[in-house]
Assembly symmetry: C2
DNA sequence: GTACGATTCATACAACTGTTTGAATCAATC
DNA sequence: GATTGATTCAAACAGTTGTATGAATCGTAC
């Protein structure tokens, strides 16, 4: 890609955000320099500090721009499901799907960040940088609370402590999958890559897996660990 | 922690590796500078280039030092299980446990890296840096192939393509959990943190979740997505 | 057309980056 | 005790980093 003027957005501010979004994925937050970012955006170096104040606040802006509408949609989707259910518990799969489908919509809409932002978000969950670790909790707090409550209602036999554990696992799976690194090159021997680009296919595989883990029997309750449901479908 | 001489290892080479291991977690690979690393190791700046050649090779060395014995143990453990099973398929839980238990042993043994390295490994899976992305596949190739084969034998009804998908999800969960970031601060409202430090407790929760996902029914096979196994234990 | 606030620009700043150098120091061999 | 090879050291290298500055340019309202 040409480093000069490849970004087509209108105003400077958004061109910077677009370029930063792309470069943070390619190189990470620390390694992507303001000079590289402004060069790709076709914008003067000083523009970042003029419009955002600092690099840290640029990082923050990259996330909030996408995350705010995304999370609003996630809550709206859950609202609608619960309104239709009229107090009854929702199927676990439906809750998981509601959460994931919003991510898919973003991935498909270039104006909302497309695949780029979804991958960036996945990466951010493992990023040790201080600014990022402060940013994500406050952005996700409300969404997590809402979906956790919905799942608790659908899984009344699951102790809250166990639900928290499994929420952990679920977000880990989503984060890594959305990051799309495929570090282990599992797909190298398999034509799964082409499938994976289609975010809907991803969901179709992800939801059953997560639902399976979420509804799995508790550990060690009956003592032995001999096979209990020892096979697939 | 005192930045000067807190590392107790004997020779310079290992003190550098220890310090780098710790700082890569705290700050990331790009942000952790050689000056910070050598300062914490109580070692001259030039020592890194003398002993390792470059920062890139230092990063590589940090991983291979721990990963080589860890992966050898993982394969040995699976070897033993399969020897005892005499050709019969192993329970899914046992395979998952064999993989995870080695990680726990490392986490408990300070001389093998302790919690520090386990967390670093989790982080590395989301790291976009080129050196890391080239390092992990070659380090994990053999282990993944062996465990994949074992799982395929235990899940004969699961298509290989689907198994690859689910392996993806599993490694994502493990990576994020081991990374131990808790970005969403799920545990903040819950006294789960103290539990989580104990790696064995983690496994006791993780194995049922992963086994549940691995053995879940295939998606969309029967068309509708209405609840099919709509609850916990 | 001129005045004005907002934006862009080239340039400079000090601090930090990974790496290199050559002298100083060390431990072991003869 | 001199010699030698390995290791450590302080110092400097050129390049990059995020940020700040003040002049130049822009579009608009008067």
């Amino acid at each position: 890609m040409n480093p000069i003027e490849p970004v087509l957005a209108a105003d400077t501010k958004e061109r910077i955000l677009d370029a930063a979004e792309a470069l943070f994925i390619e190189q990470g937050f620390a390694a992507a320099s303001l000079r590289t970012i402004t060069a790709r955006a076709g914008v003067n170096l000083a523009a970042v500090n003029y419009h955002f104040g600092s690099k840290d606040e640029l990082i923050r802006a990259v996330f909030t721009r996408r995350l705010e509408p995304l999370n609003r949609e996630r809550i709206a989707l859950l609202d609608e499901l619960e309104r239709n259910a009229k107090g009854r518990a929702l199927p676990v799969e439906q809750i998981l799907e509601a959460f994931l489908i919003s991510g898919v919509r973003v991935a498909r809409d270039a104006r909302r960040g497309g695949t780029l932002f979804v991958r960036l978000l996945g990466r951010a969950f493992a990023e040790p940088t201080e600014q990022v670790r402060q940013l994500l909790p406050e952005q996700f707090q409300e969404v997590v609370a809402r979906y956790k409550a919905a799942l608790a209602l659908s899984l009344p036999a699951l102790p809250e402590r166990e639900l928290v554990w499994r929420l952990h696992f679920i977000f880990g799976t989503i984060a890594y999958t959305m990051g799309g690194s495929d570090v282990l090159q599992l797909t190298s021997s398999h034509p799964l890559k082409d499938e994976g680009n289609d975010a809907e296919t991803l969901i179709r595989h992800l939801v059953p897996f997560l639902a399976g883990g979420l509804t799995a029997p508790l550990a060690g309750a009956e003592g032995g660990r001999k096979s209990r449901r020892q096979n697939s479908n």
